[in-house]
Amino acid sequence: MSIAKFLLRRFLQGIFVIWGVITIMFGLRAVSPGDPASLMAGEGATAEIIEQVRVQEGLDQPLYLQYIEYLQGMMVGDFGFSWQARREVSAIVIGRIPATVELAVAATVVAIAIAIPLGVISGTRRNQPADYSATMFSLLGISTPNFWLGLMLILVFAVWFGIPYPSVGTSSLPLSGVSVPYPSSVGLGMVDLPTGRRDVSFGVAVSALVFEQSLSEMGTWLRHITLPAITLGTYFTALITRLTRSGMIDELGKPYVTSVEAKGLPSVLIRYKHVLRNTLIPIITVLGLQIGTLMGGAVITETVFNWPGLGLRLIDALHDRDWPVMQGIVIFIAIAFIIINIIVDALYASLDPQVSDE
């Protein structure tokens, strides 16, 4: 079977799973102990609004008709309407995507950039201090709840070291009491005084850099995203380090490594070109599944740092009992998860030549 066929099959499976996800969410609404109309109308809705919702959402129809309508809506990207926010859920979701993507990508980049070299070093220098440190780090990393980690980072960096940290897109922590003058204490000359802006998106930062040769927006972006990205990325860094280490150890024991060494290849090439490549194959499949953890972690991290992404919006929707928004975000996350997994599979297929023979 060719890679294309393999991917096509995965794609069709993905469609099936998306249908399943949508069905489960519909089912949840149907089995919810309350009245679905009041569920959709959200917190504090009046009886009139609930009735209006019942009629407009077709909740007075038989269940199977509701289901068909529900599916039809989903197919055209209609996630419903938030009666609380008076907006299309899809607009709400789209508005929140960039912040989450920025955070998730930053965390992943940080994780990969740190974890892979760390795992390789740890795996190739077994039982040396570097290995022990990396092992301890990864054990702590996978065992530390990330919301707590986020708070501790704030505590250490913002409070104890007195590094002022922008409140925006961050928690919580007042840094006042910090008497050091702002820019010098950060040690980053390019970092401006905090702006009055809530946040700078990566896009804005990049365009400022490109069109205005201005570093300050990028600096602001970096300053805002650093702690959240570390918070979200730590678990992943630890996990990938762990996987890389054990994968390296497994792979290094394989005969082909001796064979490659006998060819006289430099060791860095052996590690990164030959061994790591084979190590990555199982890691990638695991990571595909772990993207779900990343997304769950993003929900928490966004809450800790008040980061205006999907996760924070999901929590708000839950507190407001705004079912359509909650459902829209959950379905969106699930679909994103499925699509990422298909991409991961493609990556996997491109890495492992044997996949096309399976």
Partner: protein
């Protein structure tokens, strides 16, 4: 079942390396804390009002801190000394942090174990049946499993809680009931929905592993032999397939306990657990006062970390010793 080889593997890997020992010591410590919380606690963990005379919470032993309090609208800086009866200080509402730390272990352990057990009870039979019978039953299960796995665990848990709400269950404390620990709460609230939701989120892992085992075991000679004697399928599943599938299921269960502990803590932190007697909730409580009273958040966080580390270490040990092939992906929350 557990063979001698496995036993000796378990022993060897335990004796040879430090980490499983650390894990076991931690686990025993956590279990002792959880089990004997009413005896070890110095105060009723729900009792409020343990404040310094200035009205501010006590810091942990050996520390003091400066804070500002308003009396009749006027601010004044006061120094707050620790109090020897509150080893780890008190929280925002004057509850003893040490005692809440112990009871937090209790909630984590109860939720972690019961949720995992429940998930096993749901997932293992489904997985075994699917794997053993194969065919359409199996296909159906795998599709359901794929769909369940398309939800990030925390997100699915939040969705379920969003629908079903939070309902704490008040579990009586046998030690207090028996009169060994006067002054401790007679019941403790366990986040009921979280327990069930946790099981609903992770059962599919058990189903997958059990299915895989059943799938390979059904071709074993002794199973074929039993079939040829006309032994009923139910009996074969019970007598042959289940016992021989246990090893990877036990390894998985260990890891999933850690997953549930983190899940419960996360939900409590986000305010969806329905109980305030939880490490996660306590961290949230401390968030507002992180700058002035960091111990309120630090202490429960260490609790979660130690509990998860202990379970992870034991999980690693079991996995290495029992089943080197079990998938790494089954960890994490």
């Amino acid at each position: 079942m557990i063979s001698d080889r496995v036993k000796s593997n378990l022993k060897d890997t335990f004796v040879d390396s430090l980490l499983p020992k650390v894990g076991l010591v931690l686990l025993i410590a956590i279990l002792v804390m959880a089990l004997f919380a009413p005896l070890l606690a110095t105060h009723d963990p729900t009792r409020t009002g343990h404040f310094h005379e200035t009205g501010a919470p006590y810091p942990p032993m050996g520390y003091s801190y400066e804070t500002q309090v308003a009396q009749d609208g006027e601010f004044g800086e006061v120094s707050v000394e620790s109090n020897s009866t509150h080893v780890l200080g008190t929280n925002n509402i004057g509850q003893d942090v040490y005692s809440r730390f112990l009871y937090g272990a209790r909630v984590s352990v109860i939720v972690g174990l019961s949720s995992t057990l429940l998930a096993m009870l749901i997932g293992v039979p489904i997985g075994l049946v699917a794997g053993y019978y194969g065919g359409r039953v199996d296909d159906g299960l795998m599709r359901v499993a794929d769909t369940m796995l398309a939800f990030p665990a925390l997100v699915l848990a939040l969705a379920l809680i969003g629908v079903f709400g939070e309902s704490p269950v008040h579990v009586p404390d046998p030690i207090v009931m028996a009169g060994f620990a006067d002054g401790m709460p007679e019941t403790i609230p366990i986040p009921g929905t979280v327990t069930i939701v946790g099981a609903l989120v992770i059962w599919v892992w058990f189903a997958r592993v059990a299915r895989g085992e059943a799938l390979s075991l059904r071709n074993e000679e002794y199973v074929k032999a039993a079939q040829s004697f006309g032994t009923g399928n139910a009996q074969i599943l019970r007598q042959h397939i289940l016992p021989n599938s246990l090893t990877p299921i036990i390894v998985l269960a260990t890891i999933q306990v850690a997953v549930i502990i983190l899940l419960e803590a996360s939900l409590a932190y986000l305010g969806f657990s329905g109980t305030t007697l939880s490490w996660g909730y306590e961290i949230e409580r401390g968030q507002d006062v992180l700058r002035t009273r960091p111990w309120v958040s630090i202490v429960p966080g260490i609790g979660i970390m130690l509990a998860v580390i202990s379970v992870n270490l034991l999980g690693d040990w079991l996995r290495d010793a029992l089943d080197p092939n079990i998938d790494q992906s089954k960890r994490g929350a």
